[in-house]
Symmetry: none
Subunit: 402 residues, 2 copies
Amino acid sequence: MHPELVDELAIEAKTKIIFYILDGVGGLPMEQGGATELEAASTPNLDALAKKSICGMLDPVSPGITPGSGPGHFALFGYDPVKNIIGRGILEAAGIDFPLKGADVAARGNFATIDKNGVVTDRRAGRPSDEKNRELVEKIRAVLTPQEGVQFFLETVKEHRVVLVLRGEGLSEAIPDTDPQALGVPPLEPRPLKEEAQKTSRLVKSVIEKAKGVLAQEPKANFLLLRGFAQHRRFKSFRQRYKLKSLAIAAYPMYRGLARLVGMDINPPVETLDEEISALEEKYADYDFFFLHYKKTDSTGEDGNFAAKVEAISAADAALPRILALKPDVLVITADHSTPSFLKLHSWHPVPVLLYSKMCRADGVEAFSERACISGGLGRMSTINLMPLALANAARLAKYGA
Amino acid sequence: MHPELVDELAIEAKTKIIFYILDGVGGLPMEQGGATELEAASTPNLDALAKKSICGMLDPVSPGITPGSGPGHFALFGYDPVKNIIGRGILEAAGIDFPLKGADVAARGNFATIDKNGVVTDRRAGRPSDEKNRELVEKIRAVLTPQEGVQFFLETVKEHRVVLVLRGEGLSEAIPDTDPQALGVPPLEPRPLKEEAQKTSRLVKSVIEKAKGVLAQEPKANFLLLRGFAQHRRFKSFRQRYKLKSLAIAAYPMYRGLARLVGMDINPPVETLDEEISALEEKYADYDFFFLHYKKTDSTGEDGNFAAKVEAISAADAALPRILALKPDVLVITADHSTPSFLKLHSWHPVPVLLYSKMCRADGVEAFSERACISGGLGRMSTINLMPLALANAARLAKYGA
C-alpha cells in the first residue's frame, strides 16, 4: 500500500461510497467446533450480498496485533495505523466528542486519594459517581482561569475519569504521566521532557495545584492525576486525500471523534441503528462517503454475551435492505477489529470484509462469515488497502503511470 | 519483497525461464453472475497446465491501483514500480522503439496551432496525417544541427505526436511542460527548474525557435509543444541483478522499449503470436530468460470487445503447446494488469498467475481463470514477488543465511 500514491491518483466523481462498520463483528466459537457469532446469526441479507461481492479477510494492523478503536478505524480510513499514532489524551477527548482544535494538548485525568504524607492511596478515589464527578469538575473549572494566553477545559468522562485540554500558543505534549500507576508513592511531577515543554509544564503544575486547593476538603477525591499527554494534529483530511465529502454517522462519541480527526463532517448524535440509517437517508444527497458505525456488535462481544452479539448481528443484517435501497456505488461491510464473545475483548483475529460494486469481480463466496470469507477474492490483506479498493471501485482513482 | 536480497542471492544455472505475458488478460463478467473473458474462452491447454502449476492472484502495484504498462511490466520484471518511475518522455521514446542511451533526455511533442497573437488555438493542429507528420519532422530535422555538443533526434509517433530526444553531456530533465494544456493562452517557456537545467533550457528553447521558423508557413501545424521531459537512466540490468541473459520478444514497440530499459536483448520486430513463438524457438538456445509479450488480450479488452478478447485468449491457449514443447524449466503465465472488456480500460483488479516448474508444488487449482486462481497456492500477492519465485523455481537463488 502506497498512501501517497493513492492521494496523488484520487479524482472527483459522482459516485457514492458507504462503509457500514459492524464494530468488533469478527468472533470465535464458544467451544471447539462450534459456530462463531456471525455463523450463528441469521444473516440472509448479508449472505445474499456476499454472493454478489468480493470478500476476504482483513488484518487491521498486522497479523497478531490487537488494535484499539483508534488504530482499527484509522486503518479503515486508509491512514497507516502505525505511522499515524493517536495519543491517549487525544483519543479520550475524541471519546467524549470534545471538539479539539489546532495544537490543543489533551490528557486523561483521574480523581485520586492521597494521604497526609502525600502518597497515593487510591488511584480512583473510590470510584465517585458521575454526578459527583461533574460536581468536582465544576468546582475546579471555576478556578481554571486562562494563564499565559492558554485556556483550560476540564471535562467529565465518568466515575473518577476526566479529560483536561489546554488550548493556546507554544504548548507541547512532552510531559510525563503524573499518575505513578502504583500505591504508596507520591504523584510524579509534570516536568518538561523537552526544552519546548517548559511552558506546558508550568501550566499543568498550576492546574494540579489549583485542583489540589479546590479538592483539599474532599474525603476521597482530593487529588487529580494526569496521564497520556498528547497534542492534537490535523491529519490530512478525507477531502484533501481522497477528494471525498464525507459524513460520519455514529451513535457513540468515540467514533465521531475519530472521524473528526480525519476531517469528516459529523452527523448529530442519534441513538439507534434505525436512527443512524434515517440520517444516512436524509443526508445521502449531500455527501460522497458515509462512515456508518454500528456499536452493538462490539459491546455485546465485550460483555461476553454470545447470544446478544448474535442478535446484534441479525439486527445489522435486517437493516441492510434500507442501505441497499440507496443504491450506493460501493458498499463495504466490515469491522475495525474482532471482539469474540469468548474472549470478552478486542482480539487480533482478522475480520471478514465484503465489498460490493458493479465491477467488484464476485468470487463465489456464499456467506458473510469468518470461514466463508477466507476463500474470497480479496484474500487476506491489511485493512489499509480497503480505502484504495473502495475508491477504485467508485471510479475515483486515476491510472498510475502510462 | 526484498529486491536487494534477491540480487545478492542470484546465481548462475543452466535453467531457462519463460514469462508468457498475456497483456491485460484479467477481466470481468459483462453482467452480474456472468463469466469473465478467461472463463468464457476455450483454454484446454492453460487449464491442463494450471493443474500441474502453482496459481494465484497478483496485484501489479497494490490493491486498488490501476497500473499503466510501464509500472505493470516493471513489477513483472521485479523492479519496484513505485520506486522506479519511468518518465513520460522516456516511455514515449520506448513506445516507438527509439534506442535510448546514457543520460538522454526525452520529451513528448505535439504539433499545435498558434494564432497571430501567439496563443494556442489547437493543441493537436487539426490532427495531421501520419504522412504529414513525417514530412514536418523531416523539415525540422534538417535544421536541428548539434549545438553545445548535444545531438537532437525528432521522431514521428503518429498524427500530431512526436518525440524529441536530446543526447549529450550536462543535460537535465528539470524542464517544465511548454504545452499549456489549454487554449487561448500562449505556450509556456522551457525555463530551467533547477540550476543544472540551464543548458537544457537553452537548447530546448532553440529547438522550439527553429521548429517555429520551419513551420511558419504551415496553416495548422505551426508550433511544437513539448511535455513530460524525462531523463533516461540505466536501471540495473537483468544480467546484473539476476545473472540472466534475457531476450524480449514483443510485436509492439512499447514493450520492447520497456524491456530495453532493464537491459534485455530485443528480438527484431515480428507481427503475429506465431512469429513471436518461432522467434522463441529460434533463439531458445541462446538465452536464459524470455519475455514473450502477447498484446491482443489487452487491445481487445480496451476496445470493449468481449468476444474478440475471448478469441484472443483462445489463440493464446492454442499457442501454448509450442511453448511447452521447449520444456522450459519455469514457465510463468500472467499479465501486467487486467483490462476488462466491461470497462474498456486497464483496471485495478488482480491478475491470475500460473507458475509451472517441476518443483512448483501444485495446489489443486483446475483452471486458469480469475475465480479459480483465487484458491491457488500463491494466494494474493504483489507482482514484484514473481521474479524471485521464478528464479527460485529455476534453481537460480542461493540460500539466504546459514
